[in-house]
Amino acid sequence: MTALSPAIEQFEINYAAARKSALRTSRLSIILFAACFLGASWIGGFFDMTDVTLPDGARVSMWKIWAGLPRLGEYLYKTLPVLHWETLGTDIANWFWRWKVWLELLIETILIAYMATFLGVIGAFLLSFPASRNLAPNDFVLNATRRYLEIVRTVPELVWALIFVFCFGVGPLAGVLAIGLHATGALGKLYSEANENADMRQVEGIKASGGSWFDQVRYGIVPQVVPNIISYTLLRFEINVRASSIIGFVGAGGLGQEIRVAMSLQEYTDLSALFLIIFVTVILIDTISEKVRHRIIGLTGQGV
């Protein structure tokens, strides 16, 4: 190597310093993380021992996870239907014996999820603009909406459901409101993040033409964030469909309730049938979501 240029000498110094600090940071974070991990796994019982009875009747102490691994499939196995090739038709009919009821409940569930998502989207959409740092007219509005969104999102759907059942009485109404309110919070955060990542130049373009705050949002932000909004919304819709067990809790029926009944009556094969029904629904929503999003992104012409 020839004589080092001053720039390289300076670099060597900087590099050594940067390396040292990077090493320190990474060591510190690894240690911290390892501590969190160990603590959490200890609380979570990952290191626990357990006594098990061996097939020969002896009791031994074993690592819990090791002892449990062979039994992992037990519950699943019970949910499998007995299907024979020769009698496939009747076996499947037996398996899905309640399909009429389930279909009805599925529709009910989807409608409830739809309504809840609808309410959640309206609330989240309207509030996401004042809750975005780059759009809020002032700090007070920003903080007020943000706190509100935080509270409604922090309280789980189940808890809102219990509260609303107390307030609005029993029935889908309480469930819809509960899921809707929670969705407002969860979506509001995601929407406002999308808003914050939007290109502010477009907003400036509107502002410079004399547009009011509403115009700036309507023309500067909304067209940019619509694909995000749609994809978040459909994802939320899927989650809300799955949240139907909570609606079941407040007496609105839905597939979740059917799952609970099947569980408590030990109708195991019903569980796998219900799983398939929900699975198909989730796939449908997932596929539609993909399609719609791509269409909106690729839309030429008038936009939104």
Binding site: S209, G210, Y219, G301, G303
Partner: protein, 273 residues
């Protein structure tokens, strides 16, 4: 007459614009040049009131612009149209809507939220697009246009605002030379035909020389030169831009986007072929 008096803008510790005073007669085409960070954009943004001045006043035809608020402020913004380097169009909406947005200050709340502009606005927008040869693209999404087309859409939008002043912040910096020529020609034609005052920030000296009646050079937030293009000598240019790291003489041509108009073209032509 647009009169800017002792206008300053302070960002934290930094005085981006420092006591600028200018009087710009109606119908003049003014080029503002200066190094990056000299305060050119900030000056234009203050005139449009996108940025509020820290000190100083802006007065247009006797109207105190710095005091405007609410709806009057929005009307002022509409009457001094602004064009940006990155066009700042609504990428996802069609060209026509983008142009009609120029009418937004005069559109009611409900109508603007529903995106239902009047037929009159529509006609106006189509006429403006026609003027800039963009009618065929009217229903295309703005984001799918080329840079030069987008900048012309921005100009069309500015036109339908029916402005008395046109502010352009480095309108050609993102464009390739061919489109840059188109856009500068459009600005000049507006200035000449409609008699609009045009203030245009430029990085490229030769463009400023070719198109502007008057050049204002800024340095560190202050006006460092103000006069006819002819009066801008090499020494003055060197003082404005400071020394460059490329060569020890200021090589003006390097910063050029070579919009070869006027006297320069024939010579280049000769070299090229």
């Amino acid at each position: 007459m647009l009169v800017v008096e002792q206008l300053s803008k302070v960002f934290g510790d930094l005085t981006a614009v420092d006591g600028v005073s200018l009087a710009i007669p109606k119908g003049q085409m003014v080029g503002v040049i200066g190094r990056s960070g000299a305060g050119k954009s900030t000056l234009l943004r203050m005139i449009n009131r996108l940025t509020d001045p820290t000190r100083g006043s802006i007065d247009n035809e006797g109207q105190d612009v710095t005091a405007l608020k609410g709806h009057d402020l929005r009307l002022w913004r509409a009457s001094c149209a602004m064009i940006f380097q990155q066009f700042n169009l609504i990428d996802r909406m069609d060209v026509l809507t983008n142009v009609m947005v120029g009418r937004i200050a005069h559109t009611g709340f409900a109508r603007s939220m529903l995106r239902s502009f009047t037929d009159q606005d529509r006609v106006r927008a189509i006429q403006a697009l026609d003027r800039l040869d963009l009618v065929p693209q009217a229903l295309q999404r703005a984001g799918t246009l080329s840079g030069g087309q987008q900048q012309r859409v921005a100009i069309a939008k500015a036109l339908v605002q029916n402005p008395s002043i046109m502010l352009a912040d480095e309108p050609i910096a993102s464009l390739d030379p061919a489109n840059a020529v188109r856009v500068m020609e459009a600005l000049r034609s507006i200035n000449r035909t409609d008699g609009l005052t045009v203030l245009v920030n430029l990085h490229t000296l030769d463009t400023a020389r070719s198109y502007c009646d008057r050049i204002v050079a800024m340095k560190d937030g202050r006006v460092h030169f103000d006069g006819a293009p002819r009066a801008l000598t090499t020494e003055k240019v060197r003082a404005i831009y400071g020394t460059d790291d490329l060569s020890d003489e200021i090589n003006e041509a390097v910063t050029s986007t070579s919009l070869q108009t006027g006297s320069c073209r024939p010579q280049r032509q000769a070299v090229g072929t």
